[in-house]
Subunit: 228 residues, 2 copies
DNA sequence: GAAATAGTGTCTCTTAGACACTATTTC
DNA sequence: GAAATAGTGTCTAAGAGACACTATTTC
């Protein structure tokens, strides 16, 4: 049974909390994360952007504002992933930290602030232990949810070629996909619609541009897959 | 950029936090959740079991101990789902609450404490607003993850019939499954192995008992399904 | 023309679901 | 035997992957 502490007494037991954001963008065949320098006395250590949580705050608001401030522009997606309340060290000394995922397309990823820089997620400087765990957790949840949720589209501009889209999926899944099969599945899911624009990248046949335009789902019936 | 507050100052900004658990068990064709009565002055209102978080605590430990205390036995799974830090009302007056899922098989679900009772998840008494949202969130995440994670097995005793297992999946997914197809998929996933016991439920042919015994995964290759 | 990239048609193999069947128990 | 439940064999349709092809651009 939970302790029968009254709300007033419970409110006097307070913990230091932080909101931490993992801001991701694609660049070429790599996924980049935005890190900021710690305060001067922590000697140039890189950290995930974080902000302390205060009693009147809403975690989603704090995360959205933090991401926007560091990035210099509004990310296309900000979403909570998980809470971390182990005893690992956090730069804010927080007892409890909530990890958020933020996604930006690469065009908008240029204007990050002076104290921040992009790092490939597979080649990172040392991070505070809890933030390291938060980053791993966010990346794992990204891979797990990629085919249930339109995550990939948040990493692309509003119009894009199907090759670009496939490259994002390959980046997030960490493996190559079959071109014809990818396009058939995409068509069957009614997730994109063609525009009447075409983009020529210099060499080769120009590609048609598409936009994300999900149509209503067809029943959603499917068997149990048991993780396969 | 995050504010450059020093760890010492940040730690002085504290919020009231709680750990809340959604404890679930199957009964017949329904899923039940364990609720406890609020403190006397809150007039018999039902609540999710919760416990305040203190600075030295680990959220997983608090959740595990809380679930065990209310349930009278150790749940077979305790897992974090999400943090809730909106301004909705919480019985502890918490600014930030972390929702946990706990699962028990029905045999062990009997010994819950005197101030608690089981309610069908589709027929609940009024709950504090944040706890209502937490319960919805936990149930949604359960349905989303059921085929990626061996959740169903935590709602069954260590040996079970395949009909029992299928009924758990049908309960969680909210729809009927095809018997032969369900068994073929299960066999292909190498998740269960037969025991040499059989159980007769009175009428009809006795069913063979199986146990959860996952074998190593076959590659895990599959195409992108785009949520279909 | 060659090289490069975009996009498609067809075949095969796997598998989900339907259907119908067999098997084993209680009454 | 009838009723009830467990468990399986076969067909079909959908879809993923392989392969090979066509289409359109730059050089």
């Amino acid at each position: 049974m939970p302790s029968r502490t009254s709300p007033a007494r419970a409110a006097s037991r307070r913990v230091a909390s932080s909101i931490d954001v993992v801001i991701l963008t694609p660049r070429g065949r790599r996924l980049l994360v935005l890190l900021t320098r710690g305060p001067a006395r922590s000697r140039e250590r890189w950290q995930l952007p974080w902000h302390p949580l205060r009693p009147a705050d809403t975690i989603d608001d704090v995360a959205a504002q933090l991401a926007r401030r560091v990035l210099g522009t509004r990310p296309s997606l900000v979403e909570q992933v998980a809470a971390y309340g182990d005893r690992r060290r956090h730069p804010a000394g927080a007892d409890l930290s909530v990890a958020f995922l933020a996604l930006v397309e690469s065009e908008s990823a240029a204007g990050a602030d002076k104290n921040s820089a992009w790092f490939p997620v597979d080649d990172l400087p040392p991070l505070p232990p809890r933030q390291r765990a938060m980053l791993e957790g966010v990346l794992t949840s990204l891979r797990v949810r990629i085919d249930q949720s339109p995550i990939a589209f948040h990493l692309l501009p509003s119009t894009f070629t199907l090759t670009q889209l496939q490259e994002i999926y390959e980046l997030l899944l960490g493996r190559r996909l079959h071109k014809a099969s990818f396009r058939r599945s995409l068509h069957a899911a009614w997730l994109v619609e063609p525009t009447d624009e075409w983009r020529s990248e210099g060499r080769g046949r120009p590609a048609q541009l598409f936009r994300y335009a999900p149509r209503k789902r067809r029943g959603g019936r499917r068997g149990v897959r048991f993780g396969i």
